[in-house]
Amino acid sequence: MAFWWKKTPKTASDYARLLSEQLNKFDNTSASDSRRKVQDECSKYLSGIKHFLLGEVEPEPSCESVDELYDAIYQLDILHDLLAKMPELEFEPRKDVALIFATCLRRSRDNKFVTVDYLVAKPQTLSLMLRTPELALTKPSASDLFLKSGSIILECLKYEQLCRVMLRDPQLWVFFDLARGGSFEVSTESLQILTSFFTVHHKLVATEFFSHQPNLQKLIDKINKLMAHGNYVTKRQSVKLLHSLIMIRSYNQLLTTYINSPENLKLIMILLSDRSKNLQMGSFNIFKVFVANPRKSKPVLDIMVKNRDKLLHYLACFNADSKDTTFLDEKEYVVQEIESLPRLVSPNSDLTLGTSPQN
């Protein structure tokens, strides 16, 4: 594909301009023949831009011409248009779009990520980006479109400044719904997006997201829903996400809020008794934090006391043949803690209880 570049002696920025023109033609082209032609043109220019940016053309492009191309991409809002028109493109060019995004994002000048700075100033592009996966589900070949547009978001979330802008967009909550209701691809990639949102830039999330109390509670509710109602894969992935979140030191507030709620403990205990060994282990890693909490809230303590015997009985055979010494130590600790809980028998025993007449 690279040879067309040599054949057409135009400046680098011309290709950005030509691509931009073609992308905008989609809006006014309905006949399938002419549509096909626009698609082909777009494919050609996208492939050309990709090879040019990757330096895969002979002779190797000069720094000036590469800069020129980048400038044209920014000026013509090509990144925005690519997102908007991605469903119109064919299979292979869509992959080029994702690759062009990733390459642009990596571009740095004077210790600054130029494309990142550019996108921060273009919130509407980021907003569109977050909506593209959901929109993809209404199109044919939805799964493929979803994965491609999702991979662009994943690339962006590597950069703190972009993550900051995107965290402010309520659209991020939609990925929880997509993680629960989707196909394997949709649900796993939605969870990866959420994991990137919350586990890459700790300080940012702690100071700008969790500091807003409603966000904290909403996140807990959303993750709980996934753990309670997702399919097997969603459950496993969301338990894993929750575990990594509460293990992040700067998310202490999330941890304390989580382990003080009896509703959360109930859910984790239900998962602890799931038939799946992996879910058992995943939820054990969260359950142990509830147990280890030196200042348990009363409702949480009540549940543990009420289930003291059941828990001890259950934990006795819990993953007993494991050879993982860390796990065995943790289990021993959990068992000891539960054993030390007050043992109380016979509720309502006040009915049958009384001082013996002999006393």
């Binding site: 390459t103 209701g181 894969v233 496993r236 109930k266 009540d302 509720p347 025993s349």
Partner: protein, 515 residues
């Protein structure tokens, strides 16, 4: 919230979510949102391979009747992380070319992933080597296979992807004898400048730079080395050093000179393989460059064409010997069996109200707040149950009462209804004096034998009218006392059991009386 309400909450939630989805009529590709059970869509036939990450089965699409290959990976058993497997799926979904096996879709059923792919009815090239009488292929057949694989590699490498496990077993054949690159279980994506450093592949076919783990990693050229080894495998029946221990081979590949094609072969074949096996990856030619090599011209020689004849021959041979592969995992074994609870343990999450269907609490914390509510609850139960009327008959002091026979401690449901001699629950209606007494006993002082067993026996004793009954009750009480002193805790266990049983029966009565 009680446990049951969590469950019903779930149901309503699912319902509302489903109806929400159905309103979104603009969603056209239902495969994305629907999570159908794959076993309803496909009929699993025989196992056709044990891949690097799961068994592969031939299956029939129940709607179209077409054959597909389904790789089933048990996610409870596999060591692979779901994230890693998901990456493999994304990788597969990016490949659409005639030279690679197509990916269709993925499902999750029970705890397994079902990866639906294009079915290659002709098996793999390794199958050909195994079953053909001569256990190797002619140069022109090999040239044909290698050329098709190079098309596939050229496509892959153009996408910045590496296969990483090229060998005869991963070169698949359709029913018509066409060649497709398969099993991308260990394939990796390389970014523009990034090189891979992960150690994967199968020893005999591995490129020296992968084994040597040099700082600069490796790139798509590793596949070209493996292709050279595969060419030797196809021409001679096995890769070089096949008789040696794989770990020793592993150590030797980076140290030794590249293997050569031994035996009576043409110069072009030798030359082609020597090019693939250049140790320096930078000097090793690319897939595109190799496609121009003279050796591949043999592919269009007279009598070559596809491998249809070989495929048909092997199929017939396999049929004759009734050849089949035993899958590692059974498809039927479910972690979540039909109709069974998905949980192994029921926890007690009741706070105040006791669900009538549930086994009652054993270790309820006795707080002063807690105490009163259960009483009122029980009173309601008593009043509603048909038992209520008879239970008001107080045998004690009633001249009309029949001779008491003390079978009250073993209540069966039937007995419970008709039992008139003793009223165990009358303590409820005893009035203020009783409650005052109770207040003196807190949980720490609670002695199950003294406060419950002995107390109850003494009450029964009071109610017994004939001397014989009194004697029997006293004897029983003494035996109990003896048993308690030799088996401390017996009373507690006994009381617990009686309590549980009573609760169950009460629950049952409430249930049936509402019907």
């Amino acid at each position: 919230m009680t446990k049951t309400s969590i469950v019903t909450g779930l149901d309503t939630f699912v319902k509302s979510y489903k109806s929400h989805k159905s309103h979104k009529s603009q969603i056209t590709d239902t495969s994305v949102i629907m999570n159908e059970k794959p076993s309803r869509l496909y009929e699993i036939k025989e196992c056709v391979g044990k891949g690097s990450f799961g068994d592969v089965f031939r299956a029939i699409d129940r709607q179209t009747g077409e054959a597909v290959a389904i790789k089933i990976i048990n996610l409870e058993e596999t060591q692979d992380d779901i994230d890693v497997l998901a990456q493999e799926i994304y990788f597969l979904s990016e490949l659409k070319a005639p030279f690679v096996t197509s990916y269709f879709r993925t499902f999750v059923e029970d705890v397994s992933m079902w990866i639906v792919m294009e079915f290659c009815g002709g098996g793999s090239c390794a199958d050909l080597l195994k079953h053909l009488p001569e256990h190797r292929l002619s140069e022109n057949k090999v040239a044909y296979i290698i050329r098709e694989v190079l098309f596939g590699l050229d496509y892959l490498h153009g996408q910045k992807k590496i296969h990483r496990d090229i060998k005869a077993a991963n070169i698949l054949l359709t029913d018509d004898g066409e060649v497709k690159l398969g099993d991308f279980g260990v394939s990796g994506q390389i970014m523009a400048t990034l090189k891979r450093t992960t150690f994967v592949g199968t020893p005999y076919w591995m490129a020296p730079e992968i084994i040597a783990k040099k700082d600069n990693g490796y790139n798509e050229k590793a596949d070209i080395w493996s292709l050279g080894i595969t060419a030797i495998e196809l021409l001679t029946g096995q890769p070089p050093y096949a008789k040696h221990d794989p770990m020793k081979v592993l150590v030797n590949i980076p140290l030794r000179k590249p293997p050569k094609l031994q035996g009576r072969f043409t110069g072009t074949a030798r030359d082609f393989i020597a090019l693939c096996l250049i140790k320096d990856p930078d000097l090793r030619p690319s897939a595109a460059e190799l496609l121009g090599h003279k050796f591949l011209n043999k592919a269009s020689w007279r009598g070559s064409g596809t491998l249809k004849r070989e495929v048909d021959l092997v199929k017939a041979l396999k049929k004759r010997i009734n050849y089949f592969k035993e899958p590692r995992h059974s498809v039927e074994d479910n972690v979540y069996p039909m109709g069974a609870s998905i949980h192994l343990q029921n926890w007690n999450f009741d706070t105040v109200k006791t669900s009538t269907k549930q086994t009652p609490v054993l270790s309820r914390r006795r707080t002063s707040n807690d105490q009163r509510k259960p009483i009122t609850k029980l009173q309601i139960v008593e009043e509603l149950s048909p038992k209520t009327e008879t239970s008001h008959i107080s045998a004690m002091g009633s001249p009309n009462a029949d001779t008491p026979t003390t079978n009250a401690t073993s209540p069966s449901v039937g007995h419970y209804h008709h039992e008139k001699d003793l009223d165990i629950s009358m303590g409820l209606h005893e009035g203020e004096a009783m409650k005052k007494d109770i207040r003196h006993v807190d949980s720490k002082e609670l002695n199950y034998f003294k406060h419950i067993i002995l107390y109850s026996f003494n009450r029964v004793l009071e109610r017994a009218r004939s001397g014989d009954t009194k004697l029997d009750v006293t004897r029983l009480r003494d035996i109990f006392e003896e048993a308690e002193s030799s088996q401390p805790g017996l009373s507690e266990a006994f009381v617990e059991e009686v309590y549980i049983r009573m609760e169950e029966i009460k629950g049952y009565i409430v249930e049936t009386s509402f019907q």
